[in-house]
Symmetry: C2
């Protein structure tokens, strides 16, 4: 992946529209990657992302122990990989090999970037107080990368029960929002 550092102050613009993401972790058991849609921005800078990772996921224990992960944002070209990672468990298979995803070393965390994804956000757990009750991790994005070759990324958005939609054309409105 031709990757370029992306300003932390603009990370919200990647996650705010609600894309399906892949989350990677790396522990003593090896690496894992899971598919996820339950996340929200919580602060602009440093960027905080709240994120539900169920205790049923193989990644859960690794994230809890290492307190590090990468949020990778795939585009529609990776649909089959996204669905594959969601339908299987890292307890049984190596998902990177099974689905042809290429792990790349990150700069600040032990979890890998995914070379095929257009954006990769290196994260550390900033607050785990809501994990026991809600499986809710508050992550701080400590380094962000995007692939400068991809101008209008067509992200995937899950609408339940295997129905997805693809991000449509971007357009401007006279919003004063950040």
């Amino acid at each position: 992946m031709a990757k370029k550092a992306f300003p932390l102050s603009k990370v919200y613009s990647l996650l705010e529209p609600g894309p399906v993401v892949l989350i990677t972790v790396s522990g003593r058991q090896g690496m894992d990657v899971m598919t996820q849609s339950w996340h929200t921005m919580m602060e602009f800078e440093p960027p905080l992302v709240g994120c539900v990772i169920s205790g049923r996921n193989y990644s859960f224990d690794i994230l809890r122990k290492t307190r590090e992960c990468v949020i990778s944002i795939p585009t529609v070209e990776l649909s089959s990989q996204v669905v594959g990672c969601g339908n299987t468990s890292g307890e049984l298979i190596n998902k990177f090999e099974a689905f042809g995803l290429t792990p790349q070393p990150a700069s600040k965390v032990c979890a890998p970037l995914i070379a095929e994804c257009y954006a990769n956000l290196e994260c550390k757990v900033a607050d785990s107080r809501m994990v026991n009750k809600y499986n809710f991790f508050i992550l701080e994005v400590v380094k962000a990368w995007t692939n400068p070759a991809i101008k209008n990324p067509r992200t995937l958005h899950h609408c339940g029960m295997g129905r997805f939609m693809v991000a449509g054309k971007p357009f401007k409105l006279p919003s004063k929002a950040k």
Copy 2:
């Protein structure tokens, strides 16, 4: 609005793709409505929604006191109203009148539904422990409504700085996810 009760067990399918929403509240000061994109599903059933509402918003105090709100999901036809509600403050104007949004009585909360929105979720605050530190409210959806006339709602998704995209065509993938 021709509104039809929507099963609470499927509410996640409305919010998971990350639409821009309008949030209404109603207190002694009157009603207010604000534009919001920082939300995530946290549980399927009863549906829990985590949601950041900054203390800078006029709605914040009303929500904190009444512990009730409605999450309304607009479609692209309401773009100018969505941007208008985001650019202004309920402290200065009545946004329902200013932008031609029609409040309708909800069934279980004091905050109003918005007749023009294709979905309306009546919510009560379930957990406010993260409000002081993160402005993060955990809401339980206690009643949900959709407009059965709208089959493929073209929701808005904010990409920062007034850039939006519209939900594209839905399609199926062989996901085993809920």
